[in-house]
C-alpha cells in the first residue's frame, strides 16, 4: 500500500436501505397520526363525523393550508416569512377597495390583490437576499409596515365584500367539496408537482440542503430564493382573497397572527426549519392535524379562547416528539 489516509473522515455509514426507509416511515407516521386523531375525534364526539362538520374542517383548513404552502417553500430554502398575515390584509384591502370604491370588475380586482402580494414577497426577497438582512428581522419589518399600509387603505375601518364571486367562493361547492377546499387542494397538487418535478423545485431543495454545494454546482441561488419569497407573498394574497370571501368584510385585523398558524402547520408537517427538508404534502397533513384539533375542541365545548394555548403546545409537542423519535433512531 503506497498511500494511506491519515484517518477516514467519517465512520462507516448507515445501511442505505434503513435511512431511506426512515423517510417513508416518517411520512407514514404523520399520516397515521392524522388518521388516529380523525378516528379518535370521530368516536368521542358525536358531531365530528357529521358531513357538515367535515366540510367545515376542510374550509377551515384552506386559508392556513394555502399560507402553509408558501411558508413551506420559503422555509425549504432556509428562510422564513413572517409577513404573510399582513399580506392577507393588504391584498384583500386592495381588492375590496377596487371593488367597493372604484367599481372594478372582480377578476382584475383579484388580479391586483395578487400582484400586490407578489410585490411584498419581492420586497422581502430583496431585503433578505440582496440587502442581506436576516429573514426574521426583515419580514418582521414588512409585517409592521404592510399591516399599516393595509389599514391606511381601508382607513382603519371595515369594507364589506359583497361581490357575488366572493359570496360564491365562500359558499359554493363542487361535487360536495367547498370551492375553498378545492382551491387549496389544487394549489397543493400544483406545488407538490412544482417541488418534485421542476428544476425550480430541485434547486429549492439543493439550496436549503447545502447552499455552498448548490452554488458550486452552478445553481442560481439568488433568483431561486427571491422567487420563493415572491411565491409566498402571492399565496398569502390568495389566502387574503379567501379570507375576504369567508368573513365577507376586510377589517384592520384581517390575517393578524396567521403567520404563526402557517409556521405551526409547516412545523407539524415535520419540515426542518433550517431548510432542505420538508414537503408540501406533509404541510397539508400538518394543517389537518392543526385544524382537526381546534375543531374538536370547539365541538367539545372548549371555548375559542383556549385554542391559541392549545396551538402553541401542539407546535412544541410536535417538535419535541420529532426530536425524541430522531434520537431513538
Amino acid at each position: 500500500m503506497a498511500n494511506m489516509a491519515e484517518a477516514p473522515e467519517r465512520r462507516p455509514s448507515l445501511i442505505p436501505a434503513r435511512a431511506d426507509g426512515w423517510t417513508a416511515l416518517s411520512t407514514l407516521s404523520t399520516v397515521v397520526v392524522v388518521i388516529a386523531l380523525f378516528l379518535f375525534f370521530g368516536l368521542t364526539s358525536e358531531r365530528f363525523f357529521l358531513p357538515q362538520n367535515l366540510l367545515n374542517i376542510l374550509k377551515q383548513m384552506s386559508i392556513v393550508g394555502i399560507l402553509g404552502i408558501g411558508m413551506t417553500v420559503v422555509i425549504l430554502v432556509g428562510g422564513i416569512d413572517l409577513s404573510v398575515g399582513s399580506v392577507v390584509l393588504l391584498s384583500s384591502a386592495v381588492t375590496a377597495l377596487l371593488l367597493d370604491s372604484y367599481d372594478v370588475a372582480p377578476v382584475p380586482a383579484i388580479g391586483a390583490g395578487l400582484v400586490i402580494g407578489a410585490l411584498v414577497g419581492l420586497v422581502n426577497g430583496v431585503l433578505v437576499e440582496v440587502a442581506g438582512i436576516s429573514p426574521v428581522i426583515a419580514t418582521l419589518g414588512t409585517l409592521i409596515a404592510v399591516r399599516g399600509l393595509g389599514q391606511i387603505l381601508i382607513e382603519n375601518t371595515y369594507i364589506w365584500v359583497t361581490d357575488p364571486l366572493f359570496v360564491d367562493i365562500a359558499s359554493d361547492t363542487i361535487a360536495f367539496l367547498p370551492i375553498m377546499a378545492v382551491i387549496m387542494l389544487v394549489l397543493y397538487v400544483v406545488f407538490a408537482i412544482v417541488l418534485k418535478q421542476t428544476v425550480f423545485g430541485r434547486y429549492v431543495y439543493a439550496i436549503g440542503g447545502n447552499p455552498i454545494a448548490a452554488r458550486l454546482s452552478g445553481v442560481p441561488l439568488l433568483r431561486v430564493k427571491i422567487l420563493a419569497y415572491v411565491l409566498s407573498g402571492l399565496l398569502a394574497a390568495v389566502a387574503g382573497m379567501l379570507t375576504a370571501a369567508t368573513v365577507g368584510v376586510v377589517g384592520p385585523n384581517a390575517g393578524a397572527g396567521m403567520e404563526f398558524n402557517a409556521i405551526a402547520a409547516v412545523v407539524l408537517g415535520g419540515a426542518r426549519l433550517s431548510g432542505g427538508v420538508g414537503r408540501v404534502e406533509k404541510t397539508l397533513l400538518g394543517t389537518a392535524i392543526f385544524t382537526m384539533v381546534l375543531n374538536y375542541l370547539t365541538l367539545s365545548g372548549v371555548t375559542a379562547i383556549w385554542q391559541q394555548t392549545v396551538t402553541g403546545f401542539l407546535v412544541l409537542g410536535a417538535v419535541l416528539l420529532e426530536r425524541f423519535v430522531q434520537r431513538g433512531k
Partner: protein, 349 residues
C-alpha cells in the same frame, strides 16, 4: 513582515472611519433629527414631563430589550416577551385576587416567569430545538393561556404598591424610570463583568470553540434564559402597575419592538458582538417614534407604516455602515453564497 503581500487586506482608512462613524453615531444623528422634527410639530415634546412620560410609557420595552440583547448576542432569539408579560401579569393578578397579598403575587409572578423561561432554555440548550420555534410556541400559548385564564377580562389590582408605582415621584422621577436605569445597570454588569456575559459573547461568536474551551454552554444558556425571565417579570410588574390591572392583551407586539430596538441600535443579528449602549439608543429610537407619532395624533395605521419604514431604513443604514467598515467580503465569502451568484455571467464563450 517580509513583504507587503502578507499584510491583511484593510479597507481604506477613510472608508473605515466613515463606516465606524455611521455605525456609532448614525442612529444618534437620526435620533436628534427625529426629536427636532417632533419638537417642531409639538413644542412640549422636549419638556421634562413629556420625556419622563415617554420613558415611563415605554419602560417595559426598555427592560425587555436588555434581556433581548443577551439573547441576540448569544445567537438566540426570544419571540415570547410580549405574551409572557401578559401571562405573568395575569398570574400576578390571579394570585392577588385570591390571596390579597401583593408580595405573594409578585413572588409567584417572578417564579412563574423564570420557570417558563428555564423550561424554554432547556428545550433550546439541552434538547436542541431551534429557539425560534420554542419562543414562537411560547408567543402563541402564553398569550392564549393569559386570555383563557381570565376569560379575556382584565383583573383589577388595587393595592398601595400599585399606587406607589404610579404616583410616587421625586422631582419627575417615577419608579418605572428607576427600574429602567437599574435594568440597564444590572444588564451592563452581567454582560461585562461576569462569566454569564462573557459566555454570552463567546457562544454567539463561536459555540464550538467555546465548548472546546471547557465552558458548560448548556448551563449558561439556560441561566441566560432564566435571566430573560427575570427581566420579563419586571416588565410585567410595570405593565400591571400602569394599567392598575392584569390585562391578557397587554404588551401585544412588544417582542417586535424589543428585537428591533436591539438590531436598530447596531447590534448584529448574527450575534457574537454588541452592547447595551446600542440597545439603549435603539430603544430610545422606538420610544421616541411611539411617543412622537402618537403625539401627532397619528392613527395606528400610519403609525405602523412609518414605524415599519423607519425600521427598514435604519436596518439598511446599519448595513451600509457595516459594509463600509468591513470592506468587501474576505474568505467568508464562500460561506455567504449569495454574494457571488448575484453577478451573472458576462464573459461566456
Amino acid at each position: 513582515m517580509s513583504d507587503a503581500m502578507t499584510q491583511p487586506p484593510t479597507p481604506s482608512l477613510t472608508r473605515q472611519d466613515a463606516g465606524r462613524f455611521l455605525g456609532d453615531y448614525g442612529l444618534l444623528v437620526i435620533l436628534v433629527l427625529l426629536v427636532l422634527i417632533f419638537n417642531a410639530a409639538n413644542p412640549t415634546f422636549l419638556s421634562v414631563a413629556n420625556i419622563t412620560k415617554m420613558l415611563e410609557q415605554n419602560a417595559p420595552l426598555f427592560i425587555v430589550a436588555v434581556g433581548m440583547t443577551f439573547a441576540i448576542i448569544s445567537r438566540n432569539i426570544d419571540l415570547s416577551p410580549g405574551s409572557m408579560i401578559a401571562l405573568v401579569g395575569v398570574v400576578m393578578g390571579m394570585i392577588f385576587a385570591s390571596t390579597g397579598s401583593i408580595l405573594l403575587a409578585l413572588l409567584g409572578g417572578f417564579a412563574a416567569s423564570i420557570l417558563i423561561y428555564v423550561v424554554n432554555g432547556i428545550l433550546i440548550a439541552k434538547i436542541g430545538i431551534n429557539p425560534l420555534i420554542v419562543t414562537l410556541a411560547a408567543w402563541i400559548w402564553a398569550r392564549g393561556l393569559a386570555v383563557s385564564l381570565t376569560g379575556g377580562d382584565s383583573i383589577v389590582i388595587r393595592d398601595p404598591f400599585i399606587t406607589f408605582m404610579n404616583n410616587a415621584k421625586i422631582w419627575e422621577i417615577k419608579p418605572a424610570l428607576v427600574l429602567i436605569v437599574l435594568a440597564f445597570a444590572l444588564g451592563w454588569f452581567l454582560l461585562n463583568r461576569t462569566r454569564l456575559g462573557r459566555y454570552t459573547y463567546a457562544m454567539g461568536g463561536d459555540e464550538r470553540a467555546t465548548i472546546q474551551a471547557g465552558v458548560d454552554v448548556v448551563f449558561y444558556k439556560i441561566l441566560m434564559f432564566a435571566m430573560l425571565g427575570f427581566f420579563t417579570a419586571v416588565g410585567a410588574v410595570i405593565t400591571i402597575s400602569r394599567l392598575g390591572a392584569a390585562a391578557p392583551d397587554a404588551a401585544y407586539g412588544l417582542e417586535l419592538d424589543a428585537i428591533v430596538a436591539v438590531i436598530i441600535g447596531g447590534n448584529p443579528f448574527q450575534g457574537g458582538e454588541g452592547n447595551l449602549r446600542k440597545t439603549l439608543l435603539g430603544a430610545l429610537f422606538i420610544a421616541i417614534l411611539n411617543n412622537g407619532l402618537s403625539n401627532l395624533g397619528m392613527i395606528d395605521a400610519y403609525f405602523n407604516v412609518y414605524k415599519g419604514l423607519a425600521i427598514i431604513a435604519a436596518l439598511l443604514f446599519g448595513l451600509v455602515s457595516r459594509r463600509l467598515l468591513e470592506g468587501k467580503g474576505g474568505d467568508d465569502e464562500l460561506l455567504d453564497p449569495v454574494g457571488v451568484s448575484w453577478v451573472e455571467p458576462s464573459g461566456s464563450v
